[in-house]
Point group: D3
């Protein structure tokens, strides 16, 4: 199983457990997460890039992976992703760089999958 | 002097002092900050929204004000700004809400100025 | 107007504007915020202390003020609040101390109001 | 060796090295960490939940594991833990979710051990 | 009262209240804070710069002010302070810049006092 | 391959990919990172300790490893490194402790390599 499949399998298995656990607040946060990234005054691509940058400056590798995958599926180009990540690195500082390395590796895994 | 003018006056006065201080690293970071938000694979509006969301989840009021003003000058609509801020609040959590209140107040000040 | 009244007046005025702005995601986050602190498997007092500690380690002065006020209204003792804040300072480090000073001052304002 | 044993073995081995290294500040911080969670105006269970929520919003997986284990030993119910984690996710935002997944997995490992 | 005097007066007044409040954990953290910056394998100047950089990347204005003042009293040059702050801005990103502006302003107030 | 070699191999491989990707902002940030730690008003050893403490309080394991290695090569003593890390743990709180454990382990790997 490659890196992308492994990440998704774990994510789906645990999300399913969390949603079956019946904590209302957690369920609603998951639900909001789906709604917030749907088309509105901003299109889906822009929103995914916003999610990617927010995840990157907050240095959440799993969140970065998730948004990279959605960006990839939405047809956002590597150049656009890299510009977004460069803004995140500038705003968030050089402590973002290790996450940038892992993001780049994950994007390559998405392209190879 | 209103809130917008006061913020800009202080910002410009201190930036000018920092740039005259001749620390090369700081000068170059300021320079990068200008370049990173110029048109490239992504347009200026998208980049400003990325900067706004990064600033908001990192809870930097002054950075939020700066990007709100640039968004305003670029003609980004209030609805688009609010959607961006809603993503930031969801990703960054309810601790973002006090910054959201101040952002909303600053946007009103921009509209009134 | 004292510190407590001033904080609440601004908070209510801006919350009302945010809720009237009609961004669904923000409305729902506000709504969740109310629900999450209602009695469940844990009582309201414990939940308020959890909210206080979360706000303190994340160094959000306005969130700390809000939870201090709810703690005060729930009849939580100053000693219990201080023990919670001491855990927050230990876990979050000495950068929490300036927020601890402001929290202490706000608690005194609550007692004096 | 399961996940719980592995975590504890590494933690104990390295803590022992750190304490033998004779840096006074580090020794005293470890000592404070023990004292802060002892019964006082608040009982041990409440303090452990405060520690859990502080660790979760600061997104420290190892700290979360440690407090989950103490919560488990103190007889705190899964429902109470989940309510605490739901507050942490709301306050800290969706970037907490990957840590929530790992926390849930660790709680299951504690129940299975 | 100038900015330096105002900051110190508030800081001392509230620290005194916190220490009189008799919470042991908080007292010991304050005590550790004094010990950690005393001469050891590293000299006091180096330790103050470490405290300054830690405070700056964690974006704690009051902590920055405190360490700027100690740096100033220790005879650390403005150029050395600026190099330390430039490292903090690079590592912590452009969100550090508003704190850099306020740090620069406070250093000027120290020189003028 | 030991822990040190593994870390460096991955770091170099991905840095090389990032630099070949031709995003100007990222290239310049990498370039600044080299310049900021060169001798100036402060010597290289002090700057490396500043980088180590900044990385530790921001809880970036890879950044900590990188600066530990440079500290090691510069001949900084273990006692000086531990004093720096103790300041970082005090300022950043007990959530830094898991990173302290991994830092200590990495320093041992450097000594053994």
């Amino acid at each position: 199983m490659n890196q992308v499949e492994e990440f998704n399998a774990y994510r789906e298995r645990m999300n399913s457990k969390l949603l079956n656990d019946n904590n209302k607040i957690i369920k609603r946060i998951f639900n909001l997460d789906t709604n917030a990234f749907m088309e509105g005054a901003l299109d889906v691509k822009t929103k995914e890039l916003l999610g990617l940058v927010a995840s990157t400056v907050l240095r959440c590798d799993d969140c970065v992976k998730y948004h990279l995958e959605t960006c990839y599926k939405e047809g956002i180009s590597k150049e656009q992703v890299m510009e977004s990540l460069s803004i995140a690195t500038l705003v968030g500082g050089t402590i973002v760089i290790p996450h940038l390395r892992r993001a780049y590796e994950y994007w390559e895994a998405l392209e190879a999958s």
